[in-house]
Amino acid sequence: MKKVKSLIITGFGINCEEEMAAAYKIAGAESEIVHLNDILLGKKSIHNFDILNFPGGFSFGDDLGSGKVLANKMKFKKLQSGKLFLDDLKDFIASGKYIFGICNGFQFLVKMGLLPDVAEDFNQEVTLTKNNSAKYEDRWVWCKVNENSNSPFLTGIEKIQVPVRHGEGKLIIKNKKIEKKIIENNLNCLSYCDENGYETAEYPQNPNGSDLNCAALTNESGQVFGMMPHPEAFLSLYNHPNWGQLKRQNPKISEDGEGLQIFKNIVDKIIKEVK
C-alpha cells in the first residue's frame, strides 16, 4: 500500500517540526521536513505531498504579531515559477488535499485567510492575538470537540487534554456575521473546557480568553485545520504531566499519547480516500 506523504514546513523560527514529523511517522505516514525557502525557490513542490503542515514555533520571533511576517511572505512573494505561493496553496486545496497548522502554524493560517474562510475568498476573517493574561504560558488544558463538527482530524474524539504554549492564542472574530457563519457551520471545532467537559471562559482552563472559547478552527470542507494546543507534544503517555499516577491507576494503560489520535485520524482519512 502506498504511504501517506506528509510535508512539514520549517525555517524562519519554526521549531516544532521534529515532533510533528514524528507524529506522522508513528501514525503510519512518511514525513519530510522541508525548509520553506526550498519551496519558494522551486526545489520542492507541495503537490508531491498529501498533507501540508505548518508546525508551531516563533516564525520571525512573532515580530509584527504571530505568524504575520510568514503569512506576508506566502501571500506576496512569488515562487521561482512566477506564481504566488498562495495560488499554489489554493490549487493544493482544490485538489482535495489537507493543510494542518498548530500554534504558530494556526496563527499563520488565520493571517493568510485560509481559516475559517467562510466567504471562500482567502481573506483574513479572524485573528489570534495576545492572551488576556498578557502572558506566554505553557500549561495543559482540556478541550472538547464540537459534536457537529465534520473535521476529519477530530473523528472519534470527544474530549482531549493537550498542552497550550503560547502568548497570542486569543481568537478574535472580525464581526458578528462571520461569527454566525462559524457557529452555523460548526467551524469552531474544538473549545476549551473544564475537566468535566463543560466549555468555559474561566482562566486558566480557558488560557487566553478566545471568542467562543475556541481552541481550533476548520474550514467548511474540513481540509484546512488549525489549532492552538499542541497534540504533537502528546505522542506518548509519558508526555502527560500525571503519567505516573495514570499508570498506577491503570497498569495496562496505552503508552500512546492522546494527541497522536489527531494524526492517526487524518492519515487514515487520506488512506481511505486513496482506496
Binding site: 520549517t10 525555517g11 523560527g13 519554526i14 521549531n15 516544532c16 515532533e19 514524528a22 525548509h35 525557502n37 516563533f58 520571525f60 520571533g61 512573532d62 515580530d63 509584527l64 504579531g65 504575520k68 511576517v69 506576508n72 511572505k73 501571500k75 506576496f76 512573494k77 493571517k111 483574513q124 476573517e125 485573528t127 492575538t129 495576545k130 492572551n131 488576556n132 498578557a134 502572558k135 506566554y136 504560558e137 505553557d138 500549561r139 495543559w140 498542552p163 504554549r165 478574535i172 472574530i173 472580525k174 480568553g209 499542541h230 507534544a233 502528546f234 505522542l235 506518548s236 509519558y238 508526555n239 504531566p241 500525571n242 503519567w243 505516573g244 499516577q245 498506577r248 491507576q249 503508552e255
Partner: protein, 997 residues
C-alpha cells in the same frame, strides 16, 4: 526622508498590554496611571513613495481585525492626558524593525538592504491620568524601559514623534600606536585608560615582548612599527582577560590555616582539583572499559558518549554583570551565548535539547535605598525571567529545570546561570563529531549578525566618550531569531559536509574566536575590512574585539566555500570570508591590505604571567540559637511554605516553554493539577526509543556562611540525589555499562584577591574558594562523577562609591546522567491512598543555615554534612529498589526539610498524609521536621511491597506514615498532634509566596 506608521488597537479590542502596565505601575511603583493605550510606531528611513508606504502599512504591518493605522500622523485623544515614548538608543538591537524590513521587501518585491537598520520601531503609551513629570520619568525608566538602552520622551502628547536612533561615528585615524616605553606608573595608567584590566606584571610582560630583538626584527621585516598598535594591545588584553585565561583559577595560592598553622601551596585550583579529579575518574573508568568521557575542559563544551551513534554535549555558564545593568538583555544574551557553546563544539551543529537556569536574586521585598546604578531585585527578577522566556521559547529549546535563590547579598549583582545540552551524531561523514580539525589554508568564515560596538570593554565603557549619536555599547540584547536562522543553517551545512568545524563568537569577539582556533593550525590571517558592519567607521581594533552577538566562525575547506555561500543565500544567512588559517606561528591581522597586528601565537596564549595569591583560614565562631520552647508548628509550616526560597515558582515556570520538542518526561511541575515540584528533569532522546537523560542542579550558598567545604559538598550531593531520586544510577567503574554522568561546575565568588584597603578580607574569601574546590575533588572522586566543563566568575561585587554589595561564595553543580528507560523514572508526588511513606537516609541535628532558622533570623552552627559512605550506601539501595520497581514516588529533602517535602508530595492532587514521628531519630522535634541534612528522600511504597522495601533498606529507611484520601497534612508524635493543616491551605501559602511584601 522619513515616513512614520503607527498601529494602535481599535476601540473595543482589549489592550491587555496596557492593562498589565496599569496594574504593574500600581503594584510596583505605586503610580496610578488609569487606562493605558499602547501603540507601535515604525520609522522608515528607506526612500520609498507614499503609496508604497500605504500598501506596506495596510498589508504588511496591520492586522485589520484589531488595528487602526496612522500614516505620518498619530492617534490622539483628549481622554489621555499624558504619554511616554520609548525608543531604542542608537545601535540597540531592533529585531522587529529588521523583520519589518524583510516583510517590506516581500510585499513590494523590492531588493532593499535588510542587513543594516532602516526601520526603527518605537513604543508609545498614552496615559489617562495627568501624571507629574517625575512620575512619568519613574514609569518610563522603572517599568517601560531602561535608560541604558532606551530614549524616553514624556509629558503631554503633541502629536509628533521626531526621535530616530541613527548611528553616526565620525571618521578618524584607523590605527594608533601605543607607546610602552614608559615607567611603571605610566604603564598602569595606560592599562586603566585603555580599560585593559591588565596589572603591572602583565603590562611589563607585554613591554618586554615588544622590546626583544627577535620581535623587533620580525616587525621590521613585516613593515610594522616597533611600537605596538592599539589592535595588538587590545588583542593581548582580551586574550589575557580573567574571562578567557582564568588567571585566578590558574594562580599559585599560598594557603594558611591560622588556627592550626598548617600551610600549603596550591599550584592552580583548576589543575589541582578540577582537572585532577576528572583525570582520576577517567582512569578508573577506562580500566573497566567505560569509554564515555570523550572531551573534557577543551573546546566550548564537554562531550560524552550516549551510544555508538550519538554524543551528548553541554555547557553551563554565567551572565551576571550584564544582567545587573540590563536584566532582560543580560539574560537573553546569556542564554543565546550559552546555546552557541554546545552548538559550536567539535565540528558543530548539535541539536539543542534543553536549557536550564539557576538564578540568584535579592529578595523581592528588598526595601533598602537603592545605590547609584542598582536596580531593584524585583525588577532584575522580572527582566531576567523575561530574557529567559524569550531566549528559550523563541529558539524552540525547552527550559526543563532550574532554581531560584533569594539572598540579600545578591541584590547588587544577581547570578544568572544558563545551561544548554545538545546531541550530535557520533560521526559526520566518517569524522568523529567532537574533533576540531583545522589545517593551514582553511578559510575563516563569519556567519550571523553584523558587527557593531557591542560589548567592547563590557560595562566599563567610558560614558565620557558617548554623545547622542554614539552607538550604545555596554548592554547587548540577544536576537533569538537571528541565531535560530544561523543554527538551522549550520546544522544542515555541517550535515552536508560544507563546514569542517566551527566555534562561537562570544566574549572577546573575533579576537577570541579566531585567536583560539588559530592555536590548532598554528596561525591565522584575518582581513578586517571584510567583516560586515552594522554602521560605518568602526576602528579595526573595535571590529576585532566587538562582542556583537549571534555570530559563528566556520572553518571551511577552500573547495567548499562557493557551495557554502550559495547555500547561505538560500537560507537568508549572511556569511563573509574574512581570512584563512596558517601554520606560521603568528596571528596576522590586516586592514585594507596593511598589516596592523602580528603577534606570536605562543606569547599570545602562554605569555601571561602567573598570579600569586594569598589565602587565610580562620573558622568563624558560631553558636546554635536558643529558640522559644513552645512553637506553633502549623503556623511555622505555613510561613516556611510561603518563604521566598521555598514557595512556588509556577508563575515563572509556566512562562517558559518546558516541553517544546515533545521529549520532556519529568517536567518541573507534575501531578493531576500540575502543581507538584519535581527533582531532576527527565528527557527522552528519540521518538523511537525510551533512552534518556536526567538533568539536575545543586546549589546551597546559605551553608557557606558556616562552612564553605560543606556547602560545596552539599551542593554536589544535592545534584546527585536529585538524579537518584528520579531513578538515575551512579556510574559504575567496575562494569562497562557506559552510563555517563557529566558535570559543569560554576563558581561565582566575590572578589577574593586581597587588597589592604579595597578588599581586606580577600584572603578569607580565597580560603573559602579553596575549600569549595577541595569538596569538589573529594565528592567527584568518591562518586566517580567527572567534571566535563565549567566556568568561574570571580568578581561578583556591586560597587557604588565606597559601598560594596558582594555575593556569598556560590557554587552550582549542574549534572546530566544517562537514563536507560525514561518509562521507569519516578515522579515526586503521591500516587495512591494507603501507600506507605518512608524517610530514606538519616536526619541529624543539623539546623545550621536552614530555612527554619531563617524564620528566626538565625544562622546556627550545625551545618548539614555530607557523609559520603552513608550516601553511597543509600543511593545504591535506591537504585536496587528502583530496579525492583517498588518506589511509587520519591522527592529529595532539601530546602525546608522533612515537613516541606511531604507537603510538596501532596501537591500533586487529591491526597494528604498521616505522619507519626515515633520511629525517627532521637533528636529535637525542630531538627526532625526542618533540618536540611543531605542524602535523604521521602518515598512512598505500595503496602504489598512493604517487606521487600524494608528488607532492602533496613535501618536506612524509617517508616513514618501513610498517604490518605483526605487532603490534609497531619503530623503527630506519641499521639500528640504537631501539625494539622489542609493541603489547600498549604498550597495557597506556597502559591502566593513571591507576591508577599
Amino acid at each position: 526622508m522619513k515616513n512614520q506608521i503607527q498601529l494602535v488597537l481599535k476601540d473595543g479590542i482589549r489592550d491587555v498590554e496596557g492593562e498589565r502596565i496599569t496594574k504593574t505601575a500600581k503594584d510596583f511603583l505605586g503610580i496610578e496611571t488609569g487606562k493605558i493605550k499602547t501603540g507601535k510606531i515604525f520609522n522608515l528611513t528607506y526612500n520609498i513613495n507614499e503609496s508604497d508606504v500605504k500598501i506596506f502599512a495596510e498589508k504588511g504591518l496591520c492586522d485589520e481585525i484589531i488595528h487602526n493605522i496612522f500614516i505620518n500622523s498619530f492617534y490622539q485623544n483628549e481622554f489621555y492626558k499624558a504619554y511616554v515614548l520609548v525608543a531604542k538608543l542608537p545601535g540597540v538591537t531592533d529585531d522587529e524593525g529588521v523583520s519589518a524590513q524583510k516583510t517590506l521587501n516581500d510585499i513590494l518585491e523590492l531588493n532593499l538592504d535588510v542587513n543594516t537598520q532602516h526601520i526603527y520601531t518605537e513604543e508609545i503609551y498614552l496615559i489617562e491620568n495627568e501624571l507629574a513629570e517625575n512620575d512619568l520619568k519613574i514609569l518610563a525608566e522603572g517599568l517601560l524601559g531602561n535608560k541604558l538602552i532606551h530614549h524616553f520622551e514624556f509629558g503631554k502628547f503633541a502629536g509628533k514623534v521626531n526621535y530616530i536612533p541613527t548611528v553616526k561615528i565620525p571618521d578618524g585615524k584607523k590605527v594608533n600606536l601605543i607607546n610602552l616605553s614608559v615607567d611603571d606608573e605610566n604603564l598602569l595608567e595606560l592599562s586603566q585608560k585603555m580599560l585593559l584590566s591588565l596589572n603591572l606584571e602583565e603590562m611589563k610582560a607585554i613591554q618586554n615582548y615588544f622590546n626583544t630583538d627577535d620581535i623587533k626584527a620580525i616587525r621590521k621585516k613585516n613593515n610594522l612599527p616597533e611600537l605596538p598598535t592599539d589592535l595588538e594591545i587590545e588583542i593581548l588584553a582580551q586574550t589575557w582577560s580573567e574571562h578567557c585565561k582564568h588567571k585566578e583559577f590558574a594562580a599559585t595560592i599560598n594557603y594558611e590555616n591560622i588556627e592550626t598553622g598548617e600551610k600549603k601551596v596550591i599550584n592552580s585550583l583548576f589543575n589541582t582539583y578540577i582537572r585532577k579529579s576528572t583525570e582520576i575518574v577517567r582512569e578508573r573508568l577506562k580500566k573497566a572499559g567505560n569509554n564515555w568521557l570523550l572531551k573534557i575542559f577543551t573546546d566550548n563544551a564537554g562531550v560524552v558518549k550516549i551510544d555508538d551513534d550519538s554524543v551528548f554535549v553541554w555547557k553551563v555558564e554565567t551572565h551576571n554583570s550584564p544582567s545587573a545593568i540590563d536584566p532582560y538583555g543580560g539574560a537573553i544574551t546569556g542564554i543565546l551565548g550559552n546555546n552557541r557553546d554546545p552548538l559550536a563544539t567539535g565540528i558543530g551543529g548539535a541539536k539543542l535539547l534543553f536549557n536550564t537556569n539557576v538564578l540568584c536574586f535579592g529578595p523581592p521585598n528588598y526595601n533598602k535605598k537603592l545605590l547609584k546604578g542598582q536596580l531593584h531585585p524585583k525588577r532584575i527578577f522580572e527582566g531576567v525571567r523575561h530574557g529567559i522566556e524569550d531566549g528559550g521559547n523563541k529558539s524552540g529549546i525547552p527550559t526543563v529545570n532550574g532554581s531560584i535563590i533569594f539572598d540579600e547579598r545578591y541584590s547588587g549583582k544577581p547570578l544568572v546561570y544558563c545551561g544548554t545540552g545538545g546531541v550530535m551524531p557520533a560521526k559526520y561523514n566518517g569524522v568523529d563529531s567532537w574533533l576540531k580539525p583545522i589545517d593551514a589554508g582553511d578559510i575563516i568564515v563569519m556567519a550571523g549578525g553584523r558587527v557593531g560596538k557591542d560589548g567592547i570593554h563590557g560595562a566599563t565603557f567610558s560614558s565620557a566618550e558617548i554623545d547622542e549619536n554614539s552607538p550604545q555599547s555596554a548592554v547587548q540584547i540577544g536576537s533569538p531569531i537571528t541565531q535560530k536562522f544561523v543554527a538551522d543553517f549550520m546544522q544542515d551545512a555541517v550535515k552536508n559536509g560544507l563546514i569542517k568545524c566551527s566555534t562561537d563568537n562570544g566574549a572577546g569577539g573575533l579576537s577570541s574566536a579566531v585567536g583560539e582556533l588559530a592555536e590548532i593550525s598554528g596561525g591565522a590571517i584575518v582581513n578586517l575590512e571584510k567583516v560586515p558592519l552594522k554602521y560605518e567607521n568602526l576602528k579595526p581594533w573595535e571590529i576585532f574585539i566587538s562582542e556583537s552577538q549571534e555570530r559563528m566562525i566556520f572553518v571551511v575547506e577552500k573547495e567548499n566555500v562557493t557551495k557554502l555561500f550559495q547555500f547561505a543565500e538560500e537560507r537568508e544567512v549572511e556569511l563573509s570570508n574574512i581570512g584563512k588559517f596558517t601554520s606560521t606561528g603568528f596571528l596576522d591581522v590586516r586592514f585594507e591590505g596593511e598589516k596592523i597586528a602580528l603577534l606570536e601565537m605562543d606569547f599570545l596564549h602562554n605569555g601571561v604571567p602567573k598570579k600569586v595569591m594569598g589565602a587565610e583560614w580562620k573558622k568563624p565562631k558560631l553558636n546554635e540559637p536558643k529558640l522559644p520552647q513552645i512553637l506553633d508548628y502549623n503556623e511555622i509550616l505555613l510561613k516556611l511554605m510561603g518563604s521566598f526560597n521555598i514557595c512556588s515558582r509556577e508563575n515563572v515556570i509556566r512562562q517558559y516553554d518546558h516541553e517544546v520538542k515533545g521529549k520532556t518526561i519529568i517536567k518541573p511541575l507534575m501531578g493531576a493539577n500540575g502543581k507538584a515540584p519535581q527533582d531532576a528533569a527527565v528527557m527522552r532522546l528519540n521518538f523511537d526509543g525510551f533512552g534518556g537523560l536526567a538533568i539536575s542542579n545543586g546549589i546551597c550558598p546559605k551553608f557557606g556562611d558556616i562552612d564553605a567545604y560543606e556547602m560545596s559538598a552539599g551542593a554536589f550531593d544535592e545534584a546527585v540525589r536529585q538524579i537518584i531520586s528520579v531513578g538515575g544510577k551512579l556510574p559504575d567503574v567496575n562494569d562497562d555499562s557506559n552510563r555517563f554522568w557529566t558535570v559543569n561546575d560554576n563558581f561565582c565568588v566575590p572578589d577574593s584577591a586581597f587588597h589592604s584597603e579595597n578588599n581586606p578580607d580577600g584572603k578569607q574569601k580565597l580560603a573559602k574558594l579553596v575549600q569549595m574546590n577541595e569538596a569538589l575533588f573529594d565528592l567527584a572522586t568518591f562518586y566517580n562523577i567527572p567534571m566535563t566543563s565549567g566556568k568561574d566568575s570571580m568578581k561578583n561585587d556591586f560597587k557604588a562609591g565606597k559601598v560594596k554589595i558582594s555575593v556569598p561564595p556560590t557554587i552550582l553543580y549542574s549534572m546530566v546522567a544517562k537514563i536507560d528507560d525514561v518509562r521507569e523514572t519516578i515522579t515526586s508526588n503521591f500516587k495512591a491512598r494507603g501507600d506507605l511513606i518512608y524517610i530514606v537516609g538519616k536526619t541529624y541535628d543539623e539546623l545550621g543555615g536552614s530555612e527554619f532558622y531563617k524564620l528566626f533570623d538565625e544562622l546556627g552552627a550545625n551545618v548539614p554534612k555530607v557523609r559520603r559512605e552513608n550516601a553511597m550506601r543509600i543511593y545504591q539501595k535506591m537504585m536496587q529498589a528502583n530496579d525492583a520497581k517498588i518506589i511509587e514516588s520519591s522527592h529529595d529533602i532539601s530546602d525546608g526539610g522533612l515537613a516541606i517535602t511531604i507537603a510538596e508530595k501532596a501537591f500533586g492532587g487529591e491526597f494528604g498524609a498521616e505522619i507519626q514521628l515515633e520511629n525517627c531519630e532521637k533528636i529535637s522535634l525542630n531538627a526532625i521536621l526542618f533540618a536540611e541534612s543531605h542524602s535523604r528522600f521521602v518515598v512512598s511504597v505500595q503496602q504489598i511491597n512493604q517487606h521487600i522495601f524494608e528488607d532492602y533498606f533496613g535501618n536506612d529507611a524509617t517508616f513514618i506514615g501513610k498517604v490518605t484520601d483526605e487532603a490534609k497534612l497531619r503530623i503527630s508524635k506519641e499521639k500528640l498532634s504537631i501539625i494539622n493543616v489542609e493541603i489547600t491551605e498549604l498550597m495557597r501559602a506556597w502559591d502566593n509566596g513571591l507576591e508577599k511584601k
